[in-house]
Amino acid sequence: MSAHALPERKAPSAAFAFFRERGRLSAWRLFTFTLCVLVAIPLLVVASSLLHPDRETWRHLADNVLPELIRHTLLLTLGVSVAAGILGTGLAWLTAVCDFPGRRFFSWSLMLPLALPAYVTGFVLVGLLDFTGPIATLLRQWFGPEVRLPPIRSGGGAALALTLALYPYVYLLARHAFLSQGKRALEVGQSLGLSRRQGFLRIALPLARPWIAGGVALVAMETLADFGTVAVFNYDTFTTGIYKAWYSLFSLPAAAQLASLLILFVFVVLFLEQRLRAGMRYTPTGRSAGRERLVLTGFGRLAAPLFCGAVLTVAFIVPVGQLLWWALGVAAQDLDLRYWAYLGRSLLLAGMAATLITATALLLAYARRQQRGALTDAMVRFATLGYAVPGAVLAIGIYLPIAWFDRLYIGLMGELFGREAGPLLAGTLLAMLSAYLVRFLAVAHEPLAAALQRITPSMDEAARSLGLCSRQLIQRVHLPLLKGGVVTAMILVFVDVMKEMPITLMTRPFGWDTLATRIFEMTSEGEWERAALPAVALLVAGLVPVILLTRQTER
């Protein structure tokens, strides 16, 4: 689809002029604009609440809880972003560039925590490390009743759980960056006398910046939107305030207003970050095939697998072990044939959503490439903000226009044909998929935008000067370079959709339960052990594609 819209002349500026002559530039602009507006409708619905401020609720929140909520939120988001950024980048560097025993195994297994919802990791951590957990109980038996572990139900505990659950976003993106950035720059660095560490810090890291920034942006947005995990730790954040206003004070307007502030905050931060690196060029330096790895020796050779193993154990093996233990206990009671249907629907939804969203994000990224500038950047940024909005609030923002459309349609059918029509959108897969698109466009956009940054205009020029037509340009130059980004985007969206709860609950057709809604059914009355069964099923279903796809990208 994008094939015939690509530059057909050598210089990009000339190409734009060419488009203008033929009116094609406006086609791209129209496409970007339409898509952004469609995706932005739910966000605008949420933001429209600002027109009717609920002063009473606001005053109460501002006087009593807001200062603390903001402090908590900033601390948590900063903490998780930094920790997940460092952890994800470090692990990616180890498995993508270095060589040590077990590297091959860790390179894919360190991605696995992606399939675990963060609140599950959180719940398991609390269960293990709280006063009543096995570890603290043992310590008290050995060393006396006054021995205490640091309190796990705290900001630190929540940050730990979120970091362990979210670092794979950074890992996946940074790994792709390191794998594809080639080694020549590093070799140049070495020949200039840089040590390995300097080479990493001064060459590889800056070159991987768009990917790392994209991963950290996803982590930060997910942390800001998180409600389930912080609820497990009873650590109140801005999202807690949003749900308090809605569920407890019965003021959806106040909740939506708080959410709008959150959206605005994220928008400004992301936009600034993006503008900061707008002027930079990221060109792959040399092919990555046939490269040699940095073979770790001495201490590093021992420490690297130990470190990777430790992360994998805490972030994945322990929570999954606990889940399996619980799941086995309830399987006899709860496991039945319906699970095939849950599984099938989860896979179907996630697969369709991953395809649709990745394709849309790709088009959007191309559109942005065709016309750089602050306006396009701002529109794209806005269209990808759905990821930072607490799920249930966004679900309302999505459902209102759906219901409005159905009302219009039903009214129209009644007037025109005098017959009673049912809703056209509500309770259909189309509505569900559109909702997922709004929520997860950012997840596909970040890796694709990063990948596209690598394909510079000069590469297009070079390809054209060699006589490649648009189709060939796409097939032989763009696609190979984009493949990793597309795979990354699809994995992330697939797994995220499988885990998604509030939008699935709100927009699913009658009887269309999925594995995620099964988890909701169990946890809504605190039956965490019974929730382990759907959680394990979700894990297995999410892991298979993750492993298959990562094997493909493994070199």
Partner: protein
């Protein structure tokens, strides 16, 4: 390619869209699937009426009803607390029902004075204590847990859970805001550790000796003791000389734009009848709302108690006030 994808999506969407056949009642339920499906299945077996339902949290379900307006497919809204039913009625989402059967099956304090919603099971929120560290004779009332003698001995669940909001709302109804705020401040001062995310974790902490007493719903206690019968935990019925134990309901109301209003009322009446009451309440170790029906043996073993007779609608009316009060008192 895109249009082909779109058209196949629409076909798929149409394929899963429901087709009407026979009588059916549509329920929006905040009570979870495993608690309601057995009951609905029994109704279908008894009457041939199909029940279609969808589960979600109360907040989203109510917004959904609101957004759908006259086009809503829902006939009945089912929740697990009175506060949300009160709110749904307040927003005009529910329609009054005049049913002599419901009025005789559901005690007046457990249904809306305007007949827009009806309790179907009773949930008691009571005191749980560690039998190794506390004698029952030391316990008396919810208010007493604010006394300094409990300093460092109390465990509570988070104030964000609606059950605690209802409890504090009832205290406001009885004592007024000023006195209730003193009580809640007293609780907070007595806390042994930060509030817990759920009742089960709180009760486990009481059993492990992290604290000595707590406040929780009886069915969590029942579930926990089923799994670990040897825990040194017992229930205590507070305020028996005064206003009685705080109770809440799981209940339902017929929606304003119900397509099958008569069917929804019949279902409600059946749910409140002796035939269904045990099925509805026992599956979650709750108390039947119908006074003619006895609770499950395991539940009856916890003993009889005096319930707070104030109408549970107060829990909704005063919920916002209760939440603000708890925020002021620093109850997280």
């Amino acid at each position: 390619m895109f249009s082909r994808l779109l058209s196949s999506l629409i076909i798929l969407a149409a394929a899963v869209s429901p087709l009407a056949h026979g009588e059916e009642v549509v329920v929006y339920s905040a009570r979870n699937e495993q608690l309601i499906k057995p009951v609905f299945d029994a109704y279908t077996r008894a009457t041939g009426v199909t029940i279609r339902f969808i589960t979600d949290k109360e907040g989203p379900l109510m917004q959904r009803l609101k957004a759908e307006g006259p086009n809503t497919p829902a006939d009945l809204l089912l929740t697990v607390d009175a506060g949300n039913l009160w709110q749904a009625a307040e927003e005009g989402l529910l329609a009054p029902v005049n049913s002599p059967i419901l009025q005789s099956n559901v005690p007046a304090s457990l249904r809306d004075p305007g007949n827009r919603w009806f309790g179907l099971s009773v949930r008691a929120r009571t005191i749980v204590y560690n039998t190794d560290r506390v004698r029952a004779s030391d316990l008396s009332t919810y208010e007493d847990l604010a006394d300094p003698k409990w300093k460092g001995r109390l465990c509570l669940r988070t104030s964000k859970k609606v059950y605690n909001q209802s409890l504090v709302a009832m205290l406001i109804a009885e004592h007024g805001e000023a006195k209730t705020e003193r009580i809640v401040r007293g609780w907070v001062a007595n806390l042994a550790t930060d509030p817990f995310a759920d009742d089960t974790k709180m009760m486990e902490a009481v059993a492990a000796g992290q604290c000595d007493v707590g406040i929780g719903n009886t069915y969590y206690y029942g579930r926990l003791m089923e799994k670990k019968p040897n825990l040194p935990l017992a229930l205590f019925w507070p305020n028996q000389q005064g206003s009685g134990v705080h109770v809440n309901i799981s209940g339902a109301g017929v929606t304003r734009y119900a397509k099958n209003r008569a069917g929804a009322i019949r279902l409600l009446e059946w749910l409140s009848s002796p035939d269904a009451q045990n099925l509805f309440a026992d599956v979650n170790l709750e108390y039947p709302v119908n006074p003619q029906v006895k609770p499950a043996p395991a539940v009856a073993a916890w003993g009889d108690f005096k319930r707070n007779p104030i109408n549970v609608a107060k829990a909704g009316e005063l919920q916002a006030a209760a939440v603000k009060l708890m925020d002021r008192a620093g109850y997280k």
